[in-house]
Symmetry: C2
Subunit: 255 residues, 2 copies
Amino acid sequence: MYRYKITIAYDGTHFAGFQKQPKQRTVEGVLQRAVNKIAKNPVKIIKVYGSGRTDAGVHALGQVVHFDIPFNLSENAMLHALNSILPLDVEVLEVRHVPAEFHARYGTQGKRYQYRLALGEFVDPFKRNYTGHWKFPLDVERIQAALPDLIGKHDFSTFCAAGGHTKTNIREIFEATAKFDEKQNEVIFEFYGSGFLYNMVRIMVAVLIEIGSKKRPVHDIQRLIQAKDRNEARQTAPASGLYLKKVYYPEEFEK
Amino acid sequence: MYRYKITIAYDGTHFAGFQKQPKQRTVEGVLQRAVNKIAKNPVKIIKVYGSGRTDAGVHALGQVVHFDIPFNLSENAMLHALNSILPLDVEVLEVRHVPAEFHARYGTQGKRYQYRLALGEFVDPFKRNYTGHWKFPLDVERIQAALPDLIGKHDFSTFCAAGGHTKTNIREIFEATAKFDEKQNEVIFEFYGSGFLYNMVRIMVAVLIEIGSKKRPVHDIQRLIQAKDRNEARQTAPASGLYLKKVYYPEEFEK
């Protein structure tokens, strides 16, 4: 068997999320169908393994997936074969041959998410599926002052929606930024961490919006981390603004 | 009756075009429903008048529409009322009180269209509904050299699809530009003219792509204008790249 690592972008608008589900259109589903069409292996259905799930409506700029097929196709041939089969809301950006030790899910060293929050009174029709939206005043400097409180290794139970199932809620955030893009009238958040709990980025963004609109004290995140209680942060920013931007692996697999 | 001029943006992806059609979702249809909901006039259905049609999948950044309702609402109140009723793929950008002499269709002095053509081997999933796509080499300087041939008053019959019905095919193009946006890897065309025939911009773009990819001589447009024959220019660039950017009226109505 030959293992392929692929990096993909997708518009999550018309997917019921990444993970395969019966009778639903999912990214995993369309990928698996494409890979099996190429492999033409009648004996056993070939599975595809993503770095992790994304919810319905969440987008990807650099999701990573691996799969094995019983023959050796060049990286470029695989790229063209997949893109010619896949629907237009999924694009394979890169294909790499990787050794069997590579695992898209278990081998991750970190992930980077972006969140686009559109400001302004009304929703821009061209952004409705590609941003969150906030029509009230927002103090971006207040948000920027709060971001360092997220950095480091913490128990993020307050920022975890029910429905996840992980051994521990401890994660490390390496980087958290918020920039105001004046031309687009958007706040662009970025979060780079060891891993993220279920809905964690969207809950963090919702808390940061509350801080930016003065509904919470600037350093409330310190208290929220201590509390380890989701009831302290009940809001979740909409899926439409969230992008899985990059998945990190040990250098040996990065080309 | 009080006449209102509204400027709207819409994502044309999920509309069967601007013009009302039975059993189809159209921009005119959703606007008319919204206006009648506000007017609550049981006697007579209030009609809305657009500056012109746009086809299915074509977008607008500044379409203009007028309608009359029997009471005087402030511009700002009308803006909020309409945006609270309209679906998220249509946004009212501006509302103006205008005298009864203003007519969105018959009063136009010109229109400006934009066409976004994405380059690159594969379709970007986030651009599939918002650009045309060209994966072969394209010489933008060749296109720029051809553009002046469009300028002026010409019979554009070669650039007119069947299905239009106008008295004359003579139109004047005031401005035609093509810029390469390196960051987006797109060619952005703009056309400003007295008016445009059915599918005219999309046929012009298709011809310009043929010139840019050396399938036609640089100055073939001069010959095409003389020919007055659609068979000489059979291609039509996809609707997804086209945006009605601005509609021009006499200064007295422009605020």
